[in-house]
């Protein structure tokens, strides 16, 4: 997992984004057991309370499932995973569009540039 955390946004939200990304990219398989709060906190070098909060929020989004004493695992629910992937790609598209906007390039124009890129390759 890629923990690049900065100080200017709530840390728990950055952790949530990193974990969502890792799941969407397939670094964790559906149903795979998730590491413990303590291990993840040590990996990310954050406070265990903050990691706990991020994981609890991801449970609320149904992306993680609590298995009681056996810890958490990634959901097997295909619909949830699909929706998460969709949402991640949409966020990416929005960020991309905003970057083009800075140069006065409208989304349609940006899309054209992306298509041309594909041809070049």
């Amino acid at each position: 997992m890629n923990w690049k955390l900065t100080g200017d946004q709530p840390v728990y939200q950055q952790i949530m984004a990193a974990i969502r990304g890792a799941i969407v990219r397939g670094e964790f398989a559906p149903g795979q057991k998730f590491p413990s709060v303590r291990d993840l906190a040590a990996q990310a070098q954050v406070n265990p309370n903050t990691m706990q909060r991020a994981l609890t929020e991801l449970e609320r989004e149904d992306l993680l499932v609590s298995g009681g004493t056996s810890g958490r695992s990634v959901t097997r629910d295909e619909a949830v995973l699909r929706a998460m992937r969709e949402q991640t790609l949409r966020t990416l598209a929005r960020e991309c569009a905003e970057k083009f906007q800075v140069f006065g390039v409208a989304p349609a124009q940006a899309a054209q540039l992306l298509l041309e890129m594909e041809k070049e390759e």
Binding site: G7, D8, A41, Q45, V46, N47, P48, N49, T50
Partner: protein, 238 residues
């Protein structure tokens, strides 16, 4: 659920002659949290730590740890890391382990030895033979190997390189106990802010801002480091 507080002060004041170090400080530090005591030099951080550790007596006001006024009982619950080396330079690491074992019932010697081995610090070494970074790490290992209710870490990352800082912060996180409270004082905010639950900005002996770290980031869109620079920029003498 009612929040439990490890440390409570009411109107805590400390003066050195005419000089006020802490003025009417009333704070409550919740159980299970890592709290940053942040402020410029001379803001009262070390005075606060020493009062909580029972090394100074307040001029007025009170301070309680787990419901007990500071005294022999609270000293058994508090693990204090001073802001400068305090082990004898001639002392061997193993002798210091013996001291801790004798002094503190809650000292977990095995744990301390494991961490020292991981750091490559030999028990037979004398403190004067260790580098500054290793001296600081060895002190922190000893302090964190107690099963205390309150850890008071005064500038734990002051004089060490960034890799050693990471090691020290990891030691604090991995020894974290949900029953205990950790207070870290520092002015190196960027380095510690990711591990903090809560923070207090101290200025001329008073708390001028405080709260939950993530809530403040959400509200201001700023890191604690940026907020600190902003808040203290406009204040004189710092």
């Amino acid at each position: 659920m009612e929040e439990r507080y490890t440390l409570k002060t009411t109107g805590l004041t400390k003066r050195y002659g005419d000089l006020g170090a802490l003025e009417e400080l009333t704070v409550s530090l919740p159980q299970g949290k890592i709290i940053g005591l942040l402020g410029p030099n001379g803001s009262g951080k070390t005075t606060f730590m020493k009062l909580a550790a029972g090394l100074l007596t307040p001029t007025s006001g009170g301070i309680e740890i787990c419901g007990e006024p500071v005294g022999p009982k609270t000293k058994a619950m508090v693990s204090y890391l001073p802001d400068r080396p305090y082990f004898g330079r001639q002392t061997r690491v193993s002798e210091q382990l013996d001291f801790f074992g004798d002094f503190y019932d809650d000292f977990d010697r095995q744990r301390a030895e494991q961490m020292l081995t991981a750091l490559g610090i030999r028990p037979e070494a004398r403190f004067r033979e260790l580098s500054k970074g290793n001296q600081e790490k060895a002190q922190l290992v000893l302090v964190m190997s107690r099963r205390a209710k309150l850890y008071l870490l005064d500038e734990p990352i002051g004089g060490v390189d960034p890799a050693a800082r990471d090691y020290i912060l990891n030691t604090i996180i991995s020894n974290y106990d949900p029953q205990a409270t950790v207070v870290i004082s520092t002015h190196l905010i960027a380095d510690v802010e990711r591990v903090l639950d809560e923070f207090l900005f101290l200025y001329q002996g008073r708390v001028i801002r405080g709260g939950n770290a993530d809530t403040v980031r959400e509200e201001t869109g700023k890191s604690l480091d940026e907020l600190f620079r902003e808040v203290f920029k406009c204040l004189p003498n710092c």
